[in-house]
């Protein structure tokens, strides 16, 4: 040590570093329109931000709207579960580093008029 400068107490400061343990999830699109006569399934991307270094589980499920859904100037009747779309509830796991996962919802049949169903996602136990 070069003479002239002394170091008192404390000469070291301890820095504790903690990772983010909560991830944020969202679907890539708020609304998605498909033509049921040609599409056999709907592919949706679940995106993750924050807490990318952790393992996280997301539940996703399909539900029937309780009333017609208005999107812009268009109105869609509630699609029928197990008739028009597959009613499912399952999970997808995001491993450390995963930023997105593609999920697929099978389409069963074509409705008589434009119809809509919901896909919901929620994080498990963060």
């Amino acid at each position: 040590m070069t003479p002239g400068v002394g170091f008192g107490v404390p000469v070291q400061a301890v820095v504790t570093v903690q990772p983010r343990i909560v991830s944020t999830f969202n679907l890539a699109f708020d609304n998605l329109t498909i033509v049921a006569s040609t599409a056999q399934q709907v592919s949706l991307l679940i995106q993750r931000t924050d807490g990318l270094q952790t393992t996280a589980v997301v539940i996703y499920n399909t539900t029937q709207p309780r009333q017609p859904v208005a999107i812009g100037s268009l109105t869609f009747e509630p699609a029928q579960p197990q008739i028009h779309f597959t009613q499912i509830q399952t999970t997808v796991t995001f491993n450390p580093g995963d930023v997105s996962h593609l999920i697929e919802i099978p389409i069963i049949s074509v409705p008589d008029s434009p119809a809509a169903f919901f896909v919901q996602i929620s994080a498990v136990g963060q």
């Binding site: 002394g6 170091f7 008192g8 070291q12 820095v15 570093v17 903690q18 990772p19 807490g51 270094q53």
Partner: protein
């Protein structure tokens, strides 16, 4: 009989951290400051370098500068000044922290 005054062992002062610990978290706060104080002889301009290292002194697969934006630097004390021009500022790199860990910031003579 003569009186002799010995030269000071620390003519440029004694330096220490004002606070001994700091917690940074990706949940917040992601930045923090460490203040260094100079006591004793305040004469002269002195530059002190500092570095953040893992507390265990071991080599790690992830270096400290992978998750700390600035893991080393220099602070300067002006003539007759007990405080440095700037504090030591530590900032986490977003989404770079994989697990709890501790680092220590050491002062080294520049």
């Amino acid at each position: 009989m003569s009186v002799t005054i010995e030269a000071s062992d620390n003519p440029a002062g004694v330096f220490s951290f004002l606070t001994a610990s700091l917690v940074l978290s990706e949940n917040g706060p992601t930045t923090g400051e460490l203040e260094v104080r100079r006591i004793g002889n305040l004469a002269g301009v002195v530059a002190i370098s500092w570095e953040a290292l893992y507390t265990d002194g071991e080599e790690h697969a992830v270096p400290v500068d992978a998750f700390l934006l600035n893991s080393r630097g220099t602070i300067t004390f002006g003539d007759n000044s007990a405080t440095s021009d700037v504090n030591i500022v530590l900032e986490l790199i977003s989404n770079a922290v994989s697990h709890n860990c501790t680092a220590q910031v050491e002062q080294m003579k520049y």
